[in-house]
Subunit: 393 residues, 4 copies
Amino acid sequence: MPDKKRKNVGLIGYGFMGKTHSHAYKDVPFFFSDLSTLPHRKVICGRTENLVAEAAEKFGWENYSTDWEKVVADPEIDIIDIAAPPFLHSDIAVAAAEAGKDVFCEKPPALNVSEAKKMNDAVEKAGVRNMVGFNYRRVPAIAYARKLIEEGYLGEIRHFRAVYLQDWCMDPDFPITWHFREEKAGSGPTGGLHSHLVDLARYLVGDIEEVTGLTTNFVEERPIQESGDQLETKLTATGGEGRAEVTVEDAASFLAKFEGGATGTFEATHFASGRKNHQRFEINGSKGSLEFDLEKLNRLKVYSTEDPDAQQGFKDILVTEDSHPYIESWWPPGHLIGYANTFVNEFADFFSSYENGVYPEPDFRDGLECQRVLDGVLQSARTRSWVKLDEVD
Amino acid sequence: MPDKKRKNVGLIGYGFMGKTHSHAYKDVPFFFSDLSTLPHRKVICGRTENLVAEAAEKFGWENYSTDWEKVVADPEIDIIDIAAPPFLHSDIAVAAAEAGKDVFCEKPPALNVSEAKKMNDAVEKAGVRNMVGFNYRRVPAIAYARKLIEEGYLGEIRHFRAVYLQDWCMDPDFPITWHFREEKAGSGPTGGLHSHLVDLARYLVGDIEEVTGLTTNFVEERPIQESGDQLETKLTATGGEGRAEVTVEDAASFLAKFEGGATGTFEATHFASGRKNHQRFEINGSKGSLEFDLEKLNRLKVYSTEDPDAQQGFKDILVTEDSHPYIESWWPPGHLIGYANTFVNEFADFFSSYENGVYPEPDFRDGLECQRVLDGVLQSARTRSWVKLDEVD
Amino acid sequence: MPDKKRKNVGLIGYGFMGKTHSHAYKDVPFFFSDLSTLPHRKVICGRTENLVAEAAEKFGWENYSTDWEKVVADPEIDIIDIAAPPFLHSDIAVAAAEAGKDVFCEKPPALNVSEAKKMNDAVEKAGVRNMVGFNYRRVPAIAYARKLIEEGYLGEIRHFRAVYLQDWCMDPDFPITWHFREEKAGSGPTGGLHSHLVDLARYLVGDIEEVTGLTTNFVEERPIQESGDQLETKLTATGGEGRAEVTVEDAASFLAKFEGGATGTFEATHFASGRKNHQRFEINGSKGSLEFDLEKLNRLKVYSTEDPDAQQGFKDILVTEDSHPYIESWWPPGHLIGYANTFVNEFADFFSSYENGVYPEPDFRDGLECQRVLDGVLQSARTRSWVKLDEVD
Amino acid sequence: MPDKKRKNVGLIGYGFMGKTHSHAYKDVPFFFSDLSTLPHRKVICGRTENLVAEAAEKFGWENYSTDWEKVVADPEIDIIDIAAPPFLHSDIAVAAAEAGKDVFCEKPPALNVSEAKKMNDAVEKAGVRNMVGFNYRRVPAIAYARKLIEEGYLGEIRHFRAVYLQDWCMDPDFPITWHFREEKAGSGPTGGLHSHLVDLARYLVGDIEEVTGLTTNFVEERPIQESGDQLETKLTATGGEGRAEVTVEDAASFLAKFEGGATGTFEATHFASGRKNHQRFEINGSKGSLEFDLEKLNRLKVYSTEDPDAQQGFKDILVTEDSHPYIESWWPPGHLIGYANTFVNEFADFFSSYENGVYPEPDFRDGLECQRVLDGVLQSARTRSWVKLDEVD
């Protein structure tokens, strides 16, 4: 067994993403024990002392802090992991880069293109390792889809269609958490859900040239959230007295033209009854098609026009075999993995970059390009016109 | 267009099967117009005059009769089609064969092996064309499964597992139609449902050597059925006063050894809530597997171990393309057919035998072999032991 | 049995739709025998004499003709059924209405809004019965979806998303049939596929207010079609020498705002490998959702937020029970119907209008409203802007 | 946060199950941090020193040992966890019980009934906490199925049908690991796979009264396994020179009568091409049905006859909501868990028994009852007759 080098991580955020990241740091050494550089959970940071102390205990961190600037400045910290709401991404990332730290940042990349640019400029200037947390690239089935596409399985790609449907805040009495305020979140499902779809579209198909979008609101105001006195690692919250305005969209859809000539349709909403975490996409090419559904995340459906005529059909591949990406690190063939494992794969890739010298993807430049699409969609919805993405600033 | 020869059909029975057969005779010339020999709906026969008259009108028959012996004796009739309950199969079939008529008989083949033998002896002696109505062989997906198996797609077959689940008579107040009396039906789901599964097993895998079975009753008596005053082409009936004993099983399952070395599991029941016409089977071989579900009858799932490792998966073939059996006679690719179309295919095959000289399958010998398995299962359930089928008489 | 009145039908067109309509006329009396007014297949009309003669024989028509104007003028004809390509719809429909005939017209309604208006004006002026052949309204699962929506099962509707994906002409050597020429077809998948989706959207959700669309071409020219010397009831054709320009789109997608506040996404393409006749739509409302897939046409998935919390899920209803629309006329519960049956239901509804006095839906006004959306999409794609449908002429 | 009490675990076995258990011990404190008693990974034990040392490092154990008797005798150890092959279960369990340790034992319970009895006698005599590792009871969907059944959702249960299909050793050159030798494994898929199905049948339906079974062999000898020089946490192995006889069955199926009157069909095989870990079962009751498929482990399908007639259908519940068992400890609603999480739930239940005083289930008595069925099946296959389970010793 190689002599392990430990990198000290400072994690900013202790909510849902704080929990998934903590868990991933814990699992990386277990499943990817061949890595010679591994994370050490050094310090977790959050606003409220008793809660962050509780999180440190539960999630296995050595220390906690309530001051992210101190964490960023701490010379013992090697990596800053940003799992705080979007309005904090840019400030923390820039400070971390300037302090020479490697930076991992949860999606969506930023509040907007302007901030995403600052983030990217900072890490490029500092030359630090940087990655955006688009964990779905690390679903084995999606990584395998990418491999098939690279091998030409689909031929020339003509269509990408994707939806990301949820229903967790359909109740008009669900309180106005940060997700519903533009200054905190940047946008609604555009940033929260389309960011994933756009990153996957770029990963699997390529860059988008222009978009036309539509946004809608169904619930215009919501109860003010009670100040939390509990560690919240769930998308749940309790409403207090009074109501405040929702300043982001509840649903957003857009059409896209890809640079390579394919067309795209995208839809994301928080108002699809019964859809819990329903990310589904389909890609059609000249030689075949593929389909993925996050609610069946261990599967990939593929179709090839090169099968004998009578034998053509969508093949439902259980992406749980040793011939598939990431699987060898997990369990024997045929054993399903879950949502949280994608973060383990993601951080394993982040840490393997310390060994192979290849910087991890998607990086902050990818984040910026993704953000450009999101801003383009919102701008298009406002101006009711097509928006060319190279003109979005 | 060829000069058509018409064969006069005498149909005995005007219930559900009488309707499906009538419809099929009507559709054969429409979809299989290249056949030079085609059916003519000459006479339909049933017990009750006003009802058979109504059936003749609705189903497009030239005449009607209430006396099957007269129909069998009628020199104008070329083909006797038996769509009456099982207890009548043998008498009608033997008489028809002796009268030199070709004979088509609905499944199950007969009340029991003894009667199935008489039927087979009669048609063999008379040298008349004969066929048993196992219509599911004419589901394009199943015919295609057979083709794949013949081509070696599955390799050596190891397992056949099949269920046929329904729930139409779970209500204990559903009346005691002929299906629930041994002297009329021979058995319950053994004859009604397993007969289909056994025929498919023989068609796709081969002969069965021995069986061990289990039968059960959940409802021991049912209301006596009101004498019908309506044409009943549905599996519905109304209970009158009084109750009578159910003398057939409500559910039957069995294990089987095939002559070729494969093992089989079979289950049929009328007591599976929510299963309407749920016939499903799976076959596993050394080189692949296939799966069929009658509730998705236009599809066949196949798996091949010869696909590249990472690309193996069950392929969901939409069996609606011109490269698939029967489809060219129907609609353009991609258009689903339904249950009733299988009868059209079946009669098309029956009539094409007038042209190509090849007698249709499954014939009464197949019926006899199928019946042997059914009787074996019932005998095994009574004796609580394995039964070798070559010892069943 | 009631004394039947027969209506003489003149059918213009003998291709794929000519076959489906002929079959439906044949099946209506069989399955809907309670109707007192029934179709009589009087005359079928097509361009090429030997082919229309063959069609008349195969499809069971009393006469044939090569001159649609004579058929329209024939005093014996009661109903003109237009199953010819779109460029002929308006001329035939207007002439038929002026001759006092009832008119059934296949979809898409017309070449464009201008012609659809002429058609609607003509039938309104003449006061004749008129219907557009949007057969999918007669899929039992879709008719049942409408019923659920009317009963409030979904609550307030927020989203409609639909795709109609096919792959039959992906091969660039598939010849340039009428479908690929604007002057014959009006458009590509917009008229051919979106017309169905738009009609269903209007049927299930309501009118659309504005759209923004995108169209694409992947194959710019195709082989010139050989003059057919065979009856073509399939979407197949053979290429001859020389190539001609494709003047319609290969794929079209659009976003929509419904008058009631819902948003819509629509995509149709002929370039989705592996998708044969893949019409799928999902509707999300405040109280539930539903999903339909034409490749599983006997099923409807529904979700209700009113189920107990832990028991919520998409329910896969097999729409084959007597409690579902149309089913009682077909087979006992649990028996699947196919594509062609939807036309039988459709014509049964057309003929039942002779009895109940209620004119059938969707009528030519619905056709006009549908056409307005299609033209709006094409206009939007050209102008790269949102189009308000009440401004489309 | 409560003051935690740590229980020292000694784990015997470092293969696949050693890995899953180690992982679960690691995850329990993370997800079930409210427990006041938690596991401490004290010592892991295996035959080969360099491998067990490697396992200790990878899986996070404080010490390692190559002598299970010393581990059992170690006064610091509170719990013995047996993850070694079946032939060791009894010796270790009895010794552990006699040493006063709590005992957790992987499935199958034992080599045979005789050993299972010894194990149960020992723990009962010693009064120690004991549990058998039937982890699938801790799949949230299955725990929820149990809850629904207890609440009467299914009414009176009539049928249980289950398959457990795999294909990992179809290759005749897969070497003869302990799984293929009766003296090591007790049996083939009977112990390996049916043990799970039988435990679930007992959990969900109740005790089985009698069985009739069938076993088969397809591959009679296999290459001798090379002595491993690597930690094997996968179901993979390499063949060396020479071949040895397979002394267990490759496939086993049986019919069962439950004490409550239901019938059962069971099939397990290692020779189902394409089936990786395909455990599927369906239960039919007088008021409804349910269906589970381990390859879609976050889902449960349920059917209720109490839904309105036209709205009946199998509901596909995504068992990922806070109203479902175990979910609250994991992630926000809608996030899938994987195979390994079931072990975490299992050990959480084991440790919660230290707090609530209720001994965990399934215990060694359940193991014995399960083993009785397995032995009964094998005995029945040998004697070709029904076997009453209360006569199996």
